[in-house]
């Protein structure tokens, strides 16, 4: 949820609640005031009746006007309690109105009214006085006030919404600018995050923090890169010395069988060491996205080349190789794709059994490399660094590197075990 949406929601809900509560209080207050006003009118009327009775010693005529009715009824002395009541007021329609209406229509209607029940004695007779006044005007007034209030609430909400949308949108603009810069930020780039121009302190602070942070990240990254390069240099040089010394050593003739066995083992170990080191460096570079140059590659030709390269190795293990290659081009770094192919095919050879089978299928959609081997499926751990099956001569980085290469080009590398075949799939989709 967007901050502004969330803010608007809270804002709206509280505004509506506050407005509703206020309007209820408002309504009640107006009602109270108006009812009091009515009651005063009724009292005045009552006074008039009393004074009439006092002076004339008889009841006034039952009086009826447009909005007032006074009735007198004889009652048992002392049975009437003086009180104000909410009641109904029967309003007769005008004669003209009735004439217009169809016959059978009621001659009047009930509206809400306010009444005062009182009593008086004329001679020895006890009378109940009922004065009813129509409240319809009061109610109309209340209704108008209420409608206006609701109208104002709605208008206010609308204005709030619109201004929020406009102002908040503009107010948050620096934030979105910073976000955009951050999204485009690439640690390997030389491009710096721009300093934005805003009068809002919070955004200025955020911007400063972002600029400082990315600057530091870049510096750290640069240091790391330098470190990696230095480490490679420092490590490769001694390996190079060992290698060259071995090459020199074997020029000094006359070795016993035992000595040559030892030398062979040394050679093997050194070449493993150097391959391991190179794999690590490659992995670091891949993970840092340093290998960015790309070209159009004919994958079909590349796979064919790899298969030819492996020819002797297939023969050595008496492996049967079956392949169908469709033409397929991808846009990537040729070196990396070669490494990927070599890794996958090496794996298919290394973990195969003598006289086994390798099947390579290249289609527009995917590259599939299947091999026979162990009868048990492998877990996804095979893609982890330095995960090795027992007795494997590899560096344990081959599949990690392969997956990283695939990720570099938004390809997916997955493993399946399918009826005795170990299947590696590079999905181009």
């Amino acid at each position: 949820m967007k901050l502004s949406a969330r803010y608007n929601r809270v804002n709206l809900v509280t505004t509506v609640i506050v407005m509703l509560v206020t309007s209820i209080i408002y309504y009640q207050a107006i009602r109270l005031v108006l009812t009091r006003q009515k009651d005063k009118d009724l009292k005045v009327e009552e006074e008039e009746v009393f004074s009439y009775v006092d002076t004339n010693r008889k009841l006034p005529q039952a009086f009826e006007s447009n909005d007032q009715q006074i009735t007198f009824t004889e009652a048992r002395p002392g049975s009437v309690k003086r009180e104000f009541i909410d009641t109904l007021y029967y309003k007769k329609f005008d004669e003209d109105d009735i004439a217009k209406k169809r016959p059978g229509q009621p001659k009047g209607e009930y509206e809400s009214g306010r009444g005062l029940i009182s009593f008086t004695t004329v001679g020895n007779k006890y009378y109940k006085i009922l004065i009813i006044e129509s409240k319809v005007e009061t109610e109309d007034l209340i209704r108008i006030i209420f409608t206006i209030t609701i109208g104002v609430i709605l208008l206010l909400l609308l204005v709030l919404l619109v201004t929020n949308k406009l102002i908040l949108g503009r107010l948050w603009q620096p934030f979105y600018t910073i976000m955009k810069e951050l999204r485009l930020f690439n640690i390997a780039d030389t491009k710096e995050i721009r300093k934005i121009d805003t009068a809002i302190d919070e955004f200025n602070e955020l911007n400063n923090a972002v600029v400082a942070m990315t600057g530091k990240a870049k510096q750290d990254y640069k240091n790391l890169k330098t470190f990696t390069e230095n480490a490679s240099h420092e490590l490769l040089t001694p390996i190079a010395v060992i290698n060259s010394k071995l090459d020199s050593l074997i020029q000094t003739e006359n070795f016993s069988e035992r000595q040559s066995k030892l030398l062979n083992d040394l050679y093997g170990a050194v070449s493993r060491l150097s391959r391991l080191n190179q794999s690590l460096l490659l992995l670091v570079k891949l993970e840092n996205g340093l290998l960015k140059d790309r070209e159009q590659i004919n994958l079909q030709a590349l796979v064919e080349d790899s298969i030819v390269q492996f020819d002797e190795i297939f023969q050595d293990k008496a492996l049967r190789i079956l392949y169908t290659l469709d033409s397929k081009e991808i846009y990537a770094n040729q070196n990396l794709i070669e490494i990927l192919l070599n890794n996958l095919i090496s794996n298919a050879v290394r973990h195969n059994k003598k006289g086994g089978e390798i099947i390579i299928d290249l289609t527009k959609k995917s590259l599939i490399i299947k091999n026979t081997g162990d009868h048990l499926p492998l877990t996804d751990k095979i893609f982890a660094r330095f995960h090795k099956s027992s007795g494997s001569e590899g560096s344990g980085l081959g599949l990690t590197i392969s997956r990283q290469i695939c990720e570099n080009y938004n390809l997916s590398l997955s493993y399946q075990f399918n009826t005795d075949y170990h299947v590696f799939i590079v999905d181009f989709a």
Partner: protein
């Protein structure tokens, strides 16, 4: 600087050019610019002999001094040097139009360096660690390319290799070699008289991308095939096994 070459310098240059022509047959003059003493020594030892002369420089200043005074057939150039950068040395060689071949040997296996080196006019680029035999083969190839003079033939006793047609003849009878066998043949001739380890051969033929551990049986079958083909054509058996560690191409 360029235009103000002293007559003396010019003379030396001309002399060295004449010398190159003379040396082309066999003797090479090589400058090894490498700060790692152990490596420098090994390279020097491997290249010296057979009429070849090696000089070494272990820092930027020494290297610059030697380059400004003498011409070499090939300069083996390390990028990271005490006191300076090998790339700068390469720039100076190219700015002055020195004819020396340059092979960069670097521990920096970064594509940027490689491209920069090759773009600046280096003839080849080899990443540490490498086998001395590989280095020798690369140097031979560079010098063959540079001194190419119409006939692109490599002669060794009764063996003639046509480098353009990629054809090997024994006493003028062509023999059919596969791509790898041909490449191996050149490798042996470049390293003649030296024991070449199986590791070096495997890396040369398959690259270090193919990591097949220590199984070198398939190298053996290649060697066997080459020997058979050569001997069937009446060639002497020059390829000798060396203590189970490698092979030696020798007269």
């Amino acid at each position: 600087m360029k235009s103000k070459k002293s007559p003396f310098r010019k003379k030396i240059q001309n002399l060295s050019k004449i010398k190159v022509v003379h040396l082309r047959k066999k003797d090479l003059k090589i400058l090894i610019i490498e700060d790692e003493e152990g490596l420098c020594e090994s390279i020097e030892e491997y290249f010296t002999g057979d009429g070849n002369i090696c000089e070494t420089a272990s820092n930027y200043r020494d290297a610059m001094a030697k380059i400004s005074l003498y011409r070499y057939d090939c300069i083996l150039l390390d990028i990271t040097l005490p006191g300076g950068n090998g790339i700068d040395i390469l720039k100076i060689i190219k700015e002055n139009n020195y004819p020396d071949c340059v092979l960069i040997i670097s521990a920096k296996n970064s594509l940027d360096d490689k491209l920069q080196g090759l773009n600046l006019g280096a003839d080849d680029y080899l990443v540490k660690p490498f086998h001395l035999s590989e280095l020798k083969a690369r140097v031979s190839a560079i010098i063959r390319r540079k001194t190419f003079s119409g006939s692109n033939l490599l002669l060794f006793n009764e063996i003639t290799i046509d480098l353009l047609a990629k054809e090997v003849r024994v006493d003028n009878v062509p023999i059919k070699l596969t791509r790898k066998e041909y490449s191996l043949m050149l490798y042996f001739i470049a390293n003649k008289g030296k024991v070449v380890s199986k590791n070096a051969i495997a890396e040369h033929l398959w690259g270090d991308g193919i990591d097949m551990a220590n199984n070198f049986d398939f190298i053996y079958s290649h060697i066997k095939n080459i020997r058979r083909k050569l001997m069937e054509a009446g060639c002497n058996d020059y390829i000798k096994a060396a203590y189970g560690m490698g092979y030696k191409f020798t007269e």
